[in-house]
Symmetry: C2
Subunit: 296 residues, 2 copies
């Protein structure tokens, strides 16, 4: 394990601990709901988005500990989106991160409600960031607004909607870009933005870090599409070929494998270029490589 991998692992542990602190306790009534929230949220995962929030805050000069509530809130939103995405009415997936999906354990109704509860609780959690010394409440309100827009109909849910309603149909490249940039990119990008905003970054820096996040989000989605064809179930944590099964429009289906890899490589160079002038950008350079070169 190199330094970057060690840091990712350490930060993921921090996130795991803090998430279990910010979630309602499992034994609180109604415990079935809270158990379902814990089951899906505390099921491992790379914790990319919260780590991004924390490292973006560091890049602009404040301790990662000061943005933990926002980091946890964004991870709750990510988790809810996976729970709802896996429901029979959506992708109907039985496994996620190598474990049965939430509705396979708790039933469809409780899984739906656990997703709703995580999405809702995310905003109370982010709001708690205003209680931390040195964090401006105006910045917290801005983060709540931006996270909400990135996760909603203009962002992640917009992407999910188009993904669902175009399943099994041929789509244009524009539509594929829309799906990929919105389904994954928006929440990843706003993770960078939120950490930077809470740290008091300038408007110009916020714009740069947002663009960097958009590129990383798109890389992540394309690599996901590649892994769905070429990857192993162990790496992916869900059955290989599930996009094929659901007749999803993916980069690999539309551009082919080689062209998809080329797009990833170009985006990776562009992303690194964007942040080349920042001091202490090592983590983000390595993160770009990490996201671009997952096992395929």
């Amino acid at each position: 394990m190199n330094k970057f991998e060690g840091e990712m692992k350490y930060m993921a542990q921090v996130v795991e601990q803090e998430l279990s602190r910010y979630l309602p306790r499992k034994d609180e009534f109604p415990s079935k709901l809270h158990e379902a929230m814990h089951y899906s949220t505390l099921s491992g995962g790379k914790r990319l988005r919260p780590i991004i929030v924390m490292k973006a805050a560091e890049l602009f000069g404040i301790s990662y500990e000061k943005v933990i509530p926002t980091a946890c809130g964004i991870e709750m939103i990510h988790t809810y989106s996976l729970i709802h995405d896996d429901l029979p009415v959506m992708d109907n997936d039985d496994f996620r991160r190598g474990k049965p999906t939430c509705h396979k354990i708790y039933g469809d109704a409780v899984a739906l409600l656990a997703g709703d509860a995580l999405l809702t609780h995310a905003f109370a959690t982010i709001a708690k960031n205003s209680k931390i010394s040195g964090i401006n409440p105006d910045a917290v309100v801005d983060v709540i607004e931006k996270v909400s827009l990135a996760a909603g109909g203009y962002g992640m849910i917009g992407g999910q909607t188009v993904d669902i309603i175009t399943s099994g149909k041929d789509v244009s490249r524009d539509t594929l870009f829309y799906i990929s940039t919105h389904k994954t990119g928006c929440l990843m990008s706003v993770s960078f933005w939120s950490g930077a905003r809470l740290a008091g970054a300038s408007k110009e820096d916020l714009e740069t870090i947002k663009c960097f996040g958009e590129k990383l989000g798109l890389i992540f989605q394309i690599v996901d599409d590649i892994l769905d064809i070429k990857g192993s179930e162990a790496v992916l944590g869900k059955p290989v070929g599930s996009d094929m099964k659901n007749k999803k429009n993916t980069f690999v289906n539309l551009f082919g494998f080689n062209k998809s890899v080329e797009i990833v490589n170009n985006l990776s160079l562009e992303a690194k270029q964007l942040i080349s002038n920042y001091n202490n950008n090592d983590f983000f350079i390595q993160l770009t490589d990490f996201i671009s070169k997952r096992d395929y």
Copy 2:
């Protein structure tokens, strides 16, 4: 139409107009999602919760116009909860407010996503309340936290969860109270609290108005149970007896009709007592009667 009814009608029109301004436009991509959000949000209704936010702000000395974003955000949360509640996986209702439910028009997947998007967009909308002059950003953060807690697993979703998992089973009176106070009461109560908080009410006043809201929320739920048995479909906007069909535990099932009416009357007296010392409490006294004496 008396003065109170006229004011309710006028305020409902204001809410309707403002909601259509704060929602994403129907023609924005992906339009199917945004149409579904409009369809369910702009389908009439009494607009009780947003009106409560606005009138609570007035009670504590600021213009209702200053809390419109929060009022609209809370109505979006209420609407999402109805969309998800009506889904086949939950209550499986085909009609709501006399119109086909969201999933009957847009399909289950888009209805699920439209609900998610409304819940998400609610928080961006409430966050916009910080841009209004004279409103303290700390108050907006507090409102976001309280609304999130009232709508989440500790509040409304907690109530919905217990309602769903106890359907068709006998429950204790404690459980019935839990369901009724949480499913309806929490969001109604936080509507009072939010208007008052944004208006700068004292801690003591916030506690009083919260208790008042809890009582009105419970009255509302018990009257709903009574209407499900005794009401007409025209008043209810959904088929009479749908709680019976779903074997829901209701006050009428557990206490009988006469005792349920008695509980409503007692709660109504207690509520009026709570706010008897406030100036300009006319609207809230009449609101208590209005909620207590819907047509049954």
